[in-house]
Structure formats: C-alpha cells, structure tokens
C-alpha cells in the first residue's frame, strides 16, 4: 500500500472555513505523512477546467478536495472525464453519485448562535454592553445560498429562544472589504442591535474589529475568533472543515478507501458547533446555558427542525 497523496483546490483557503480545511490537511500531513498539494485557484471561471485536468490527468492523487461552488461546473466535467479520480466536494451535495460529499449543517450551528444572541439581547441593560434595542444584527458577505443558510438558522434560533427580538440582516455584497464590514456593523449598532453575527469572510474581520471599537458584541464564524476582539466576541460558530478532511484522509490512510456518498457534518457529529468564548462564558446566566443545551439536544434528536434556506 503506497503513500496516500492528496490535493485540495479552492479559492478560499485564506478565509475562515478554508483556513480550517487547510488546518485539517496539514494535521493529516504531519500525522500520516501524506503528500499534499494545495492549489489556490483564482477567480476566473475559464481556468478551472484546465486546473482540474492538470490535477487529475496523471491519476497522481488519491483524493482531490474541492471547495467553492464556482468550481462545481468544472468539477462535474472533470469527474466525468476522469471517472477513476475520486473527488471530495466540501460544503454541499451535487447530483453526481460518483463523488464524495462533505456536507455541513451550518444552519444548525447558526440556530444556536441566534438563540444565544437573542437571549442575551433580551436581558437588556442587565447584561453588560447590551442596550434596549431589542435587535440583533447579521452581516453577510455576498448574498448567496450558503450565507442565506447561516442567516436562516440564525433567525430561526433567535425566534425560537427570544421571539420578540428582531434580526437585522445586511449583506456587504463582497467578501473582500473589511472597511465596509466595519461600517455596516457600526451602522447596526447605531440602530440598536447590540450583537452582530459575522458571516462575511475577510469583510467580517471588520465586524469583529468594529465590535471592539464600539465595545459591543460580535459572533465569529467558521473558526474560533474569540481572540480577535477579546471581551467583545460572544462566541464562534465553528464549521469544522478540519475534522471533515482529517477524518476522510484518516480513513484512506487506514486502508478504508473512501467511497462515493454523502457525509454529513452537523451538530450531532460535531461538524458544527457554537463555541462560547472563555472570557464571556462566566458572565452568561445559567438559565441561558441550560436553554442552549436543551436546544442542542432538541436539534440532535430531531425534535427541533432547522430548515435550510431554499
């Protein structure tokens, strides 16, 4: 049994979720000594097919991880052209039954984030840095389905735990303009939303920094962002790309060839979770914590249904 060889291709390795995937790949590399090739694609749709061909044509890689919806079209063609090549599509499920899918339930994690934010906002001035705006905010990057998924979960969660809190969502329209993220967040704070959920990639860095500047709250996404604005980050909705890729590679290395099909990474499997920041956790009232645990159980056992955005 030869050395396992893995490639990963995406345009987003530098952004939250991509970072966690790279972390997982690197961990697998150190732990199992696999060959690893990371390919950062640009944003030109014209390039993708050639890039896939370059990766797949020698059959050099056992697994090729693919992340990013703009690659889907080229991926499907490559998968048809190189039927023996196994592709892992991260963060979604496509029509083809020849691929491996690592699917995340970001709406579930966002549901809990929404519930937490709603309940804290509900405390009003009883909670440090909270005003009486009765609103929580959301800053999305581009207005696209995945981000809508986050928003949907967030809204459902807040409605579930604190029905009289309104959610104010905004979309920056770009993932690359932190200054815009900061301005938007400050505008939300001005309108009485004291907690803002950041689902905006690099734009979202502006959200975190704005929360520190305005001394209000933010919720991070994808990776642990507690350190970006200590004291101002309530928690982070982790989307554990690292766990997903690591476990797949582990299976492969251990000789269980990964076969086509969908793997779901949700609250139950630990693929998504809400991590409350350590510096905030002590301040959170017990009943809120209890409620969060209850919700989590409910989602895991299916008694609480979280809908994906259509």
């Amino acid at each position: 049994q030869g050395k396992v060889s893995v490639a990963a291709i995406s345009g987003y390795f530098a952004q939250g979720f991509g970072v966690s995937i790279v972390n997982g790949l690197n961990k697998a590399k150190t732990d199992f000594g696999i060959d690893l090739k990371l390919v950062d694609t640009g944003n030109r749709a014209l390039d993708y097919e050639e890039q896939f061909a370059n990766l797949a044509k020698d059959g050099k890689y056992d697994l090729i991880f693919v992340m990013g919806w703009e690659l889907v079209d080229a991926l499907q063609k490559a998968s048809a052209a190189y039927p023996n090549q196994r592709f892992v599509f991260i963060d979604g499920v496509l029509d083809s039954d020849k691929m491996i899918y690592a699917n995340f339930a970001e709406e579930q994690g966002s549901f809990i984030a929404g519930a937490l934010a709603g309940m804290i906002e509900n405390k009003g001035s009883a909670f440090d840095k909270i005003g009486d705006g009765k609103a929580i905010g959301f800053v999305g990057g581009r207005d696209i389905p995945v981000i809508r998924n986050f928003l949907g979960g967030y809204e459902q969660g807040s409605k579930y735990a604190a029905p009289d809190i309104t959610v104010k969502p905004v979309f920056a329209g770009t993932f690359d303009d932190p200054a815009k993220g900061s301005e938007l967040t400050q505008a939300l704070y001005n309108e009485g939303a004291d907690i803002v959920y950041n689902v905006a990639g690099p734009t979202g860095e502006g959200v975190m920094q704005a929360s520190a500047a305005a001394d209000k709250y933010s919720i991070g996404v994808d990776i642990d962002m507690c350190s970006t604005a200590p004291g101002n980050v309530l928690g982070s909705m982790l989307k554990r790309g690292d766990i997903a890729v690591y476990s797949l590679i582990k299976d492969e290395v251990e000789g269980h060839k990964v076969t086509p099909g969908t793997r779901t990474f949700d609250l139950a499997s630990g693929g998504v979770e809400l991590k409350v920041c350590d510096d905030i956790a002590p301040k959170i009232p017990e009943e809120v914590k209890a409620k969060l645990d209850e919700i989590k159980k409910g989602i895991v056992d299916g008694s609480i249904k979280v809908a994906k955005a259509k």
Partner: protein, 329 residues
C-alpha cells in the same frame, strides 16, 4: 420622519468623515500630480502597496508608526517608478498607471504568500493599529456631538488638516507655485530654469507620500488588517474627483465628502433591506453622475466667463464706443 431621524444623525456624519478620510488622503496626494500636469491613474496601486507594507512594517517592528513609515516608503517607491517612466522615459501615463496597479495587486498577493503562506488577508499576526485620538475637551464642549471631532485615528485628522495646508502650499510656497506652473505652462517653467522633470518628480513623490499614508490609514487606522485589493476602487474614485476638481484642495475635499457621504448613507440604506449589490454601486454611480453633471458645460467656468464678459463690457467697451463714434484723424 422617524426613518429620516434614523438615517440622518451624528453617527452618519461620523461615518461620513470616516469613509471620507482615505479617499481624501489619496485625493490630496493626486492633487500634486494633477496640478503638475500628470494624469496619475496609479493612485489605486500606490495606496494598496502602502496598506500592505504598513501592515508588514507594523508586524515587524511592533509599532504602528514604523508600520506607517514602511507603507509610505513602499508607496514612494511606486511613485518613483511612475515618475521615472512617465517623466524620464515619457511613457504613457495611463499605461504606466494601470500597469503599476496590476503590479501592486500581484505583488502584494505574491508577497503575502511568500511571507505568510496564505493569500486573501492578514489579520492578527501582531499587527499594531494606530491608536485613537481622544480629544479631552470634546465631551464637555460638544456633548453628544463629541464623536464628530474626537476618537478618530490620527490619519483622519491629518487628512482634514492637510486641506488648508495644501491651500496655503499652492498659494504661498515656491514649490506649490512651481508645481502649478509646470502643470499649466511647462514652457514658462523651462524658460525660467525651473526643471520640469524635477518638479514632476517631486510632485509624484509627494503624491506617493499621501497615497502611502492613505494606504496605511486603510490597513492600520480604518481597520487593522490587510486584504487583497483592499483599496477597492478608492484610488479610481479619487482620480474621478481630481478630474472635476482640477486638483484644487478645497474642491477635492468637497468631492471626497460627497462620496464619503454617499458611501456612509448607502450603507445605512442597506440596513433597510435594499439589495446589497445595487447599494454597493451607489458611490461609483454618484461619482459618475457627478463627473457627468460637472462636465456638463463645467458650471463654475461659465459663471466665471460671464463675469469676465461683463467686466470687459463695462470697463473697456465704453472707450471703444467713443472711438467708434468719433470719426477723427
């Protein structure tokens, strides 16, 4: 009414000043080249390398100030290359400017990959941002209006104070005068032994200085991080302003405030649920409309011409009329 209250308040004005500052800095930088008769479309790139090297310097030295200097130095190098090609080699300004913009984009990403192993953005890594300036008396004097003058990062103040300084610079200093002369009538400068090339170099470097500061402000003041292409069109916006302000500092300020306001205001509209992509286009659209509106027979000029016309008629014409009426000699 309530909606208006929510839209128009101190916070909006503060946001306007915040969004204005980076464009203003780079716009004032461009004022030097514009006045010196150089069309500098490379502002965008100078700003971008300024932002990148400011972050790099800040990480390396642990000091925001040193970071700022690094940003300025990088922008100055770009400005020098620009001047070298445009002034010495007489290459086309638009070509060189666009190429430098492309270079800035590619270079920052390559370096980011070489230094940090990733692309996209640099956050954390011990970047030290510029501190906020709290003006002690602001609270007492202005009450709830205090945020209007207090609590910005230093380069915001620099941007706004640079405006009167530049006015003075052009009116009362020799260098300022020479820059204007070189732009308006190079032959005059040449005949008097003023080196056109040297003045253009100086103007270009001064431009690089302010563009570098604008970049440093973007990555250390406005926000504390670097992302790919984080100047996102601000340099181009500044060029548009420069065209219809002709580089006059006060008019540059006016133009920048207009866009700062459009930007800040449109962001607030977003919270009302307007489609983000259309809102995002607002500042560019405002810039375009302003460009078109002002070039529609360039209004200030027509007023000036009419005044001149009237002055001529009043002061000189009567004498001529006399000459017309007295058939003598």
């Amino acid at each position: 009414m309530e909606v208006l209250d929510k839209l128009l308040n101190v916070a909006l004005l503060v946001a306007t000043l915040r969004t204005t500052a980076p464009i203003l800095l780079v716009g004032l930088g461009g004022s030097f080249t514009t006045k010196a008769g150089i069309f500098n479309i490379g502002l965008e790139g100078q700003m971008l390398v300024g932002a990148f090297f400011a972050v790099l310097g800040s990480i390396w030295s642990g000091s925001a100030f040193v970071g700022m200097l690094c940003g300025v130095a990088a922008a100055l190098v770009f400005a020098l290359v620009f001047a070298l090609l445009v002034v010495t080699f007489r290459a086309n300004e638009v070509v060189v400017g666009l190429a430098l913009n492309i270079l800035a984009g590619g270079m920052t990403i390559s370096l980011m990959k070489a230094v940090f192993g990733t692309r996209g953005s640099i956050v954390g890594h011990g970047i030290v941002g510029l501190p906020k300036v709290q003006i002690p008396w602001a609270r007492e004097l202005l009450g709830s209006w205090a945020p209007l003058v207090s609590g910005y990062t230093p380069l915001v103040y620099v941007a706004f104070f640079a405006v009167p300084l530049l006015v003075l610079f052009y009116r009362r200093t020799r260098l300022g005068l020479y820059i204007r002369v070189v732009g308006e009538k190079p032959e005059a400068a040449e005949a008097l032994g003023i080196s056109i090339a040297r003045i253009r170099y100086v103007a270009s470097l001064l431009c690089g200085l302010l563009a570098g500061l604008a970049g440093a402000h973007l990555s250390l003041g406005y926000i504390t991080m670097f992302t790919e292409n984080m100047s996102s069109g601000r340099g181009f916006m500044a060029v548009a302003i420069l065209i219809f302000s002709n580089g006059d500092p006060l008019r540059v300020l006016g133009g920048c405030l207009l866009f700062g306001f459009a930007d800040a205001f449109s962001l607030r509209l977003k919270t009302f649920g307007f489609p983000s992509y259309l809102i995002l286009a607002v500042p560019y659209a405002v810039a375009l409309v302003a460009l078109f509106a002002l070039s529609y027979r360039s209004r200030p000029r027509i007023i000036r011409e009419t005044l001149e016309s009237m002055r001529k008629l009043l002061s000189v014409e009567p004498g001529r009329a006399d000459a017309d009426n007295t058939p003598s000699t």
